[in-house]
Symmetry: C2
Subunit: 379 residues, 2 copies
Amino acid sequence: MRCPVTAASSAGPVGSDGDVLAEATQFLEALHAERQLPGLAARLAEVREEVALTGSYRHTREELVYGAKVAWRQSARCVGRVRWAGLRVRDRRHVTTAAGIAQELSAHLAAGDNGGRIQSVITVFAPDRPGVGPRARIWNDQLIRYCGHVCADGGVLGDPAQVAMVRAARRLGWRPPPVPGRFDLLPWVIETAHESPSVWEVPRELVREVALSHPDHEWFADLMLRWHALPVISNMRLRIGGVDYSCAPFNGHYLGDEIGTRNMGDRERYDQLPVVAAGLGLDTSREDTLWREHAALVLNQAVLHSFRVAGVRVSDPHTESELFMKFCAQEERAGRPVHGDWSWLNGSVGWAALHAVHHRYYDTRVPNPNLWQTDRVYD
Amino acid sequence: MRCPVTAASSAGPVGSDGDVLAEATQFLEALHAERQLPGLAARLAEVREEVALTGSYRHTREELVYGAKVAWRQSARCVGRVRWAGLRVRDRRHVTTAAGIAQELSAHLAAGDNGGRIQSVITVFAPDRPGVGPRARIWNDQLIRYCGHVCADGGVLGDPAQVAMVRAARRLGWRPPPVPGRFDLLPWVIETAHESPSVWEVPRELVREVALSHPDHEWFADLMLRWHALPVISNMRLRIGGVDYSCAPFNGHYLGDEIGTRNMGDRERYDQLPVVAAGLGLDTSREDTLWREHAALVLNQAVLHSFRVAGVRVSDPHTESELFMKFCAQEERAGRPVHGDWSWLNGSVGWAALHAVHHRYYDTRVPNPNLWQTDRVYD
Ligand code: HEM
Ligand code: HEM
């Protein structure tokens, strides 16, 4: 779960505005040291020359693969990093048209899906042009997402988080299905440096979905809830040794509570806690029955159960947290610092919809007067 | 729930080592402005003189009361602050002997308990001596806590968090009950500047306890679990306008998950999740049944139910989070910044025992290579 305060305060570099050569040097030194590669001096001389001429430099395939893996390994908010070395890196730097990109996104879906045994994949398109900006951008935040349709009464059918994206696609001429539903696939919007944004339907047959059912509650299936198997983040920039790749979608597999708690449970998403509570016959007249937590638990159980039965890889928070501890131990053994953002790494199944979760404007200075922990007196 | 990273990084002032006069001035100005009190200049002159002579100054009763309330109002980790103005401040600065303090602690228990309708109370003993240190310290972290007895097999009967405190009390000659139990009251250890530490039994009749039962599960009562009604923090230092009060225990009432999730559920506390799961007949052979969350839910329901039935004030996380949002709105209307520590303010019922919760050694710098959120392209 994300702490907005930490998120806001640890703003990262956006755009290659730093000292490209310094960052490149640091990166290449780390790569050569970690992989015990020869030829560092020669490669540095080459890069120095290229940066002097063009303001940037081209990564070798090996540098790209290593850089992408290490970017994952160092993602402070990701609990799934024990798998970093197994990332499959698809080098598609030569693909620069919207049509070409759309085709590669389809190929990415197939590679990531891997028949349900989800494989971690990143597809890296052409790097940003130094001082100019991205050569391509995908407008979607994930490659597979469901539409949010605003209804006549102001309510939203589908995913409220995607209302703005639906609006953006419509402005580009896209038309939603004639009979809008709760789980309509959003199209991709792809923009390149030489083409204006264009809309691309996602090939339906490449999108694996899981219908949600619960092992102990038959009625649960009647809620007709579902989710897609593959989370492909498409709005993050990969930065390697001073070079930015603004178009580099990647996927892992799901952690159950991303679906069960956040996507299904959050008030400003599918808001299913009251619906599930009604199915369970819970007393929702008072908060202290903890009906929200009870409904969130059942939703999460349904997600894990349904994915498992469907043969789709998914993680539960306990197993994942334990694996993350293994990752930390590995990193420490390798003498590397573990980058981490505590509140993101400790998301929770039961963390349903507390009001204060969404409040972020706190003053974090230590005030006066104050109360503060004293040192323990005894051993 | 606490984020150890934030906790570590926002270390507060410990001991009045700062500029007493500057802090006093800032405090008195704030008090006079907020309460629209006259006589600021005269009071500042008085304090200046006193600080010059003695290195510190004596708060008026009004300053002490206001200072304690504001210290609560600004406690970044406290979700219960909407009640700050109702804090009852017991001025016991004249009490400096261990016997006198023990007597006042008993009086505090009675005042806080308030027949089960828990009242927020702080008892303020003599301030620290400038440059020397506390005039009195209570070794206990809370005034009511249960012993942790180490058994022959190395296991712990009672609260493992209090094993060291039991050891400390024993070293001072205290003897635990002849037949040790899971809920034996810890004695107080009180140390003053002129007396060595002494042990005081807590008057049993002042300790209200609630036996835990569950509305839907009769067997739950057979677990013989219980908890005390009153959380009185006794290891925090109150600092007001440059003056430290290291002996100033305070209480609010409980938020259910402090008992149900943390005290009862944590592996290194009473570790009751496996026990409750057994009672519920859950499948604990695999993590993805979410049996831990299920057991934590039932424990939390039992706490809220039992306190309510016993007529003891307790809060549930949703109501409390909503009240906290009211507090934020109030503070913003009053033009005051809200001090807050996001991860503490968003504790959770279901947050049972993730491994990574206890890991704190993260590097929070932004690393290279990295993955970072891009700006949204559309509106
Ligand atoms: C293999 C299985 C994976 C699991 C189980 C996993 C798990 C997670 C989870 C639970 C989050 C928090 C998401 C949220 O609360 O919104 C997260 C965030 C993140 N993950 Fe992973 N992840 C996996 C693979 C990957 C891969 C392959 C990459 C990159 C190559 C990656 C990079 C990130 C990044 C950058 C974030 C932060 C996202 C943000 O700031 O919004 N993860 N991961
Ligand atoms: C009236 C009802 C109250 C409620 C429901 C409440 C709730 C809470 C909760 C849930 C925590 C986090 C505890 C943890 O996770 O360990 C907390 C922390 C805290 N509260 Fe309150 N509180 C109340 C009253 C008070 C009062 C009267 C004071 C002081 C006058 C106070 C000062 C603090 C402080 C200083 C902390 C941080 C403790 C630390 O750093 O370990 N609270 N409160």
